[in-house]
């Protein structure tokens, strides 16, 4: 095993991966996303303003999650088989490129793509939310003025209330949590594709593990505190060991609701994501380093 580590080489491979994925028209999803956000922002005017802002946040951040997970699984699952099929992998690995650098380049490429996609979508979403919230505020203030109760205190209170429901820094931290989750799923999928025999197999297993990972909190509780039989306990223990806990990153649901992501919580999530990235990268390398091409 060579310990060489060339950042420019990894960057070259990562950027090639990004352009390769961009060419697959993956970013068309961004357009769809914008349509969804605008629709969610303005489609249900009958509800009360607070609920409208919540709906906009729910739908947008839901779409964001979906985008990041689907790209993480599908794009990553495609990478190795495609390079192998096109024999591009031969020409790359016949150069003095260690296999771990190739893997890291691919991983980094997908992460850059997902990160950039999330940033763009976050900007679009923030724009619409800000617009919507200004509109809601203007309407409420107008209503107050009509009632003749628009005192400066009342307007300030209203502003504060709508502001809490609207755009906050916290929402962006929620988006970062979504990115952490997607990063774990990406590393997981890359690891699976290192031993999988087909793209379909990789995609199915990656989604399965991701879904199981979301129920891991339940599985772990069951195995730590449940009253189940030995076989059931062993099975749930194995599942808890093998699958990552995706639920840890699901703070965005409550962030929508106004809960704050503390620096401690943020650090916790970052640490867990990094642990998985490192662990899965090592396993991927071990599986890939002697793979017959």
């Amino acid at each position: 095993m060579s310990a060489s580590f060339s950042l420019p080489r990894i960057r070259t491979l990562a950027m090639a991966t990004v352009t390769q994925l961009l060419r697959m028209k993956i970013m068309a999803f961004l357009l769809v996303f914008c349509v969804i956000v605008v629709a969610a922002g303005f489609a249900f005017p009958v509800m009360n303003p607070e609920q409208q802002l919540k709906l906009l946040k729910d739908v947008s951040l839901g779409a964001l999650q979906l985008f990041s997970i689907v790209i993480a699984v599908c794009a990553t699952a495609l990478l190795l088989p495609r390079d192998l099929e096109d024999r591009t992998l031969y020409t790359i690995l016949a150069k003095p490129v260690p296999r771990h650098e190739y893997l890291l380049g691919k991983l980094l490429g997908v992460l850059i793509l997902i990160g950039a996609g999330l940033v763009l979508m976050d900007i679009a979403f923030s724009g619409v939310l800000w617009l919507r919230q200004s509109l809601v505020l203007a309407q409420s203030v107008a209503a107050l003025q009509q009632e003749g109760t628009a005192t400066p205190e009342a307007v300030a209170q209203l502003k504060e209330f709508v502001g809490r429901q609207g755009l906050t820094w916290n929402l962006h931290l929620g988006v970062v949590a979504i990115f952490f989750k997607a990063a774990v799923v990406t590393a997981l999928t890359l690891m699976i594709s290192c031993f999988a025999s087909s793209t379909l197999f990789t995609i199915i297993i990656a989604f399965l593990v991701t879904i199981l990972g979301h129920g891991q909190g339940l599985i772990r509780d069951y195995f730590l505190t449940g009253h189940a039989g030995v076989v059931k306990k062993l099975l749930s223990a194995l599942l808890a060991v093998v699958t990552p806990d995706m639920g840890v990153f699901d703070v965005v649901d409550n962030v929508i609701n106004g809960e704050t992501v503390t620096p401690g919580a943020f650090g916790f999530m970052a640490a867990i994501a990094c642990t998985y990235l490192a662990g899965y990268a090592v396993v991927s390398h071990l599986l890939f380093v002697e793979k017959e091409l």
Partner: protein, 287 residues
């Protein structure tokens, strides 16, 4: 062995055996069996044999793309399992394919960066390689639109980019039209002049005959014959005599002479020598 000599051979393969494990319930497949060969610095070595005889697996082992089940392979004395062994090798795989979204120049820049080249040096070298392989006009076109022959030449350019001392070519002319094929042949001859070692596989024997110094013939994963090309193909007990504008009378006289004073010699055949179809095609195409 020769690895201990001051100038190690370009390629060393010692007792290489490669067994591919099959899925459950299927028998394992032995692609290469106890194969040994040496390619000396500066020569053109041809590895020939029918499809599936283990040529490609041998090449992949030399390039470290597959791990030998037993035996060892080395490039300029460095074991193939190590990444450094590939710093002086250029490889052209069979029917190469590149990232569709890049154009010719970008493709070369990509591979150059993988070889730790950069900046102006890389750009100049890439342009030089495009010129060498006749792809200057296609430099800005996306690879997706390249013909098979162009892809093959781009593959060559990519293989030569980092000035390797050894190039490994797997079926370089497969699926390429005769003109393109000839261009590739000329390039290989050019390498030889520059002192670049070439290891080439093909099942098109005629072409191999034109470029190779030495050949090895493989079948069923084993080396069947190996040696200098001229020695391998010379028919020792026959002599060729080619005449121009000979009259039938002269030919009859020669025939009579052989029969009367030949001391056992006999005429095996006579007639008009045929040009090869390849030569004919090239002549017609050039007009």
């Amino acid at each position: 062995m020769s690895a201990e000599s001051p100038q190690p051979p370009a390629v060393t393969v010692e007792n290489l055996t490669k067994v591919f494990k099959a899925g459950l319930g299927k028998a394992a497949f032995t692609a290469v069996r106890d194969l040994s060969l040496t390619v000396n610095d500066g020569e053109v070595y041809g590895l020939i044999g029918p499809n599936g005889c283990g040529k490609s697996t041998t090449m992949k082992a030399i390039l470290g793309l597959v791990t030998p089940t037993s035996g060892r392979t080395a490039v300029f004395g460095r074991p193939s399992t190590r990444v450094e062994s590939r710093s002086e090798v250029g490889f052209l795989p069979e029917n190469p394919y590149f990232y569709k979204h890049l154009n010719g120049l970008e493709t070369l820049l990509f591979y150059g960066r993988l070889c730790s080249m950069s900046g102006k040096e890389l750009k100049d070298r890439a342009r030089e390689m495009l010129a060498l392989t006749g792809l200057e006009d296609a430099a800005d076109r996306r690879v997706a639109g390249y013909s098979k022959g162009m892809l093959q030449r781009l593959g060559l350019a990519q293989a030569l980019l980092h000035r390797p001392r050894l190039v490994v070519l797997d079926e370089p002319t497969a699926g390429v039209d005769p003109a393109g094929s000839r261009k590739i042949r000329d390039l290989i001859l050019g390498f030889k002049e520059q002192g670049i070692t070439v290891l080439v596989t093909s099942h098109l024997l005629e072409q191999m005959q034109e470029v190779c110094d030495r050949v090895g013939i493989m079948a069923h994963g084993r080396m069947v014959r190996e040696g200098r090309l001229d020695e391998l193909i010379a028919v020792e007990n026959e002599t060729e005599l080619v005449l121009a504008d000979a009259s039938p009378e002269l030919l009859a006289e020669i025939r009579a002479l052989v029969e009367s004073r030949g001391h056992g010699a006999r005429v095996v055949r006579s007639g008009h020598p045929r040009t090869t179809l390849e030569k004919l095609f090239l002549e017609v195409a050039d007009q």
